[in-house]
């Protein structure tokens, strides 16, 4: 375990072209009771970038994503989307921000009383009322084809595997054509082949759509495949942030231990 002397906050400056980061988290803190989960996190993601957030289980990676989309409220600090601080925004106002974001939950969180097609259509029915039923149907079919689920439109979530549920969850996250994509452990619990397929899918979508993405994962191989930058969390802090090569060259003991065990 890294000592207090070993852990130092290192940040590599993200590419700056004068534009405001799409997502910026500043001095974010969150505790549950006496347990401090996030202890002053600073992160930012630009358009077209994918940031992978790594760390041991229980280090607050999923909480970070939930804070960014506003499902949790930080104790202090700010979360800025296109420069606007979203902390404390009213629910309906936050809804306008969330329309620009897609979120893939760790266990997909599909609506179990709706079919696969209905799950993907759900955000469209609420936010794209100007679309006709056939237009919505075409869009759903197109997205499910992109994620390889075109043959399972009428199935219920309980009838498909975990990997297939994640694909449907990904399609649902993309249906409103978000600018920001948040993925919580997209390959957790999947076999290596399915994990590879999900990684390839995410890469393909990134190349086509140029979203700002944050992927929370403990899978270093997956992170190296899909991310431009990696950030490693430990004890509520970002220990290091940069490319994989920066992590390899780091002299921080925790970083080396993490790379060795992954």
């Amino acid at each position: 375990m890294a000592t207090a002397n070993d852990i130092a906050m290192k940040q590599v400056d993200a590419p700056r072209d004068g534009s405001v980061p799409v997502v910026a988290v500043e001095d974010l803190r969150k505790a549950f009771g006496n347990h401090k989960v996030l202890n002053g996190i600073h992160l930012s993601v630009n358009r077209g970038e994918t940031l992978a957030v790594l760390g041991r289980s229980g280090t607050g990676k999923s909480v970070l994503l939930r804070l960014i989309i506003g499902l949790e409220t930080p104790d202090s600090g700010s979360v800025r989307i296109h420069g606007q601080d979203i902390v404390g925004l009213a629910l309906d106002r936050m809804g306008e921000i969330r329309k620009k974001m897609g979120f893939l939950f760790q266990h997909a969180a599909l609506y179990d009383s709706l079919t696969v097609a209905e799950n993907v259509a759900f955000p469209l029915e609420h936010h794209k009322k100007e679309m006709s039923r056939s237009e919505r149907g075409d869009r759903v079919k197109q997205l499910l084809a992109e994620v390889g689920m075109e043959g399972d439109l009428a199935k219920m979530p309980a009838e498909i595997s975990g990997g297939m549920q994640k694909r449907v969850g990904l399609a649902r996250a993309l249906v409103l054509e978000p600018e920001i994509l948040l993925l919580d452990e997209p390959t957790a619990g999947l076999d290596p082949i399915s994990s590879g397929e999900i990684d390839d899918l995410i890469l393909k979508l990134q190349r086509e759509r140029k979203m700002a993405s944050i992927v929370v994962t403990h899978d270093l191989h997956s992170a190296r495949t899909i991310a431009n930058r990696l950030a490693l969390l430990d004890q509520g802090n970002v220990v290091i942030e940069g490319k994989y090569e920066d992590l390899q060259q780091s002299d921080i003991a925790f970083v080396q231990e993490f790379l060795k065990q992954s």
């Binding site: 499902l71 629910l91 266990h107 179990d112 609420h126 409103l176």
Partner: protein, 283 residues
């Protein structure tokens, strides 16, 4: 052995400083925790109700979900409510006939049955039956959605869960309860009349004429429409319990149980207040 300071006064063992953490909480501490917990519960319920109310009155409205809930709460509860009402009608008929005969007031039977069913038993039986069926159903459904992150997914999709899930269910309960009560009343009166007719023939026409003789608006409509308040209680408590669930399958079970128990309890307490209110406003 050296005696510790502060002990052994007249044979009593007095606590030493620092011993408090090792003792079980006193009755006063337990009572104050309970009272504090109750205030916290009511406070959270009030905040939840405010959020639902705000969501319900601001567009976009969830008409499709409301219609679905009207079917779920209303049409699917009808058979059970009708059966309960029918059973109550028979019971009141048998009991009333016996009592009225004893006191030489058999001619009062139709009015007794009508007033008993419509003013008292119909509303409360409907409320308790719906509290059991609908309260448990809503509580369990929303609790299951909560523990599987489906409610979070709804919120992450920029849809207000208070509007989509809670407001529609609560409004459906409010709208449907008076109608279900009328159905229970009708079934109760029919079976009550039928039970009486088996013993002593009484035409339906005679029964209705003498039962509703001298009936006024204030005698029948307020008791029926007070069930809208029952609907508010059932829907609000079931949604509140469901949407704040934690703890997996055990939490879902607890939410369903608490929904029924608390809704039934508050419904009965509300009846006391509402009856008094109706008597004052509609003398």
């Amino acid at each position: 052995m050296k005696e510790r300071e502060g002990t052994a006064v007249a044979g009593l063992s007095l606590p030493l400083p620092g011993d408090e953490s090792r003792r079980s909480p006193s009755a006063v501490t337990s009572a104050s925790n309970l009272i504090g917990g109750c205030f916290e519960w009511f406070g959270n319920l009030g905040i939840f109700f405010w959020r639902v109310l705000r969501a319900a009155v601001t567009p976009p409205y969830e008409w499709r979900e409301l219609i679905r809930q009207l079917d779920e709460v209303g049409s699917k509860s009808l058979p059970l409510v009708a059966l309960a009402g029918a059973a109550v009608g028979v019971v009141i008929s048998l009991e009333a006939r016996y009592s009225l005969t004893r006191f030489g007031a058999k001619s009062m039977f139709p009015a007794t049955l009508v007033y008993s069913v419509v003013q008292v038993m119909g509303p409360i039986i409907t409320g308790l039956v719906v509290s059991g069926r609908v309260g448990a159903g809503i509580g369990a459904e929303l609790a299951s959605m909560k523990v599987t992150e489906q409610i979070d997914a709804i919120e992450a999709s920029a849809i207000n869960p208070y509007r989509l899930l809670a407001a529609t269910r609560i409004l459906a309960c409010i709208l449907v309860m008076p109608l279900l009560t009328l159905a229970a009343d009708a079934c109760g009166l029919m079976t009550g009349w039928f039970a009486q007719s088996m013993v002593e023939p009484l035409s339906l026409h005679q029964f209705i004429e003498s039962g509703f003789k001298g009936a006024t608006f204030s005698a029948f409509l307020p008791p029926t429409f007070k069930t809208a308040v029952y609907g508010l209680i059932i829907g609000l408590i079931a949604c509140f319990q469901g949407m704040r669930t934690r703890g997996g399958a055990e939490g879902v079970g607890r939410a369903a149980t608490n929904s029924v128990v608390l809704a039934s309890l508050f419904l009965i307490l509300a009846d006391v207040v509402l009856v008094k209110f109706i008597l004052v406003v509609f003398p």
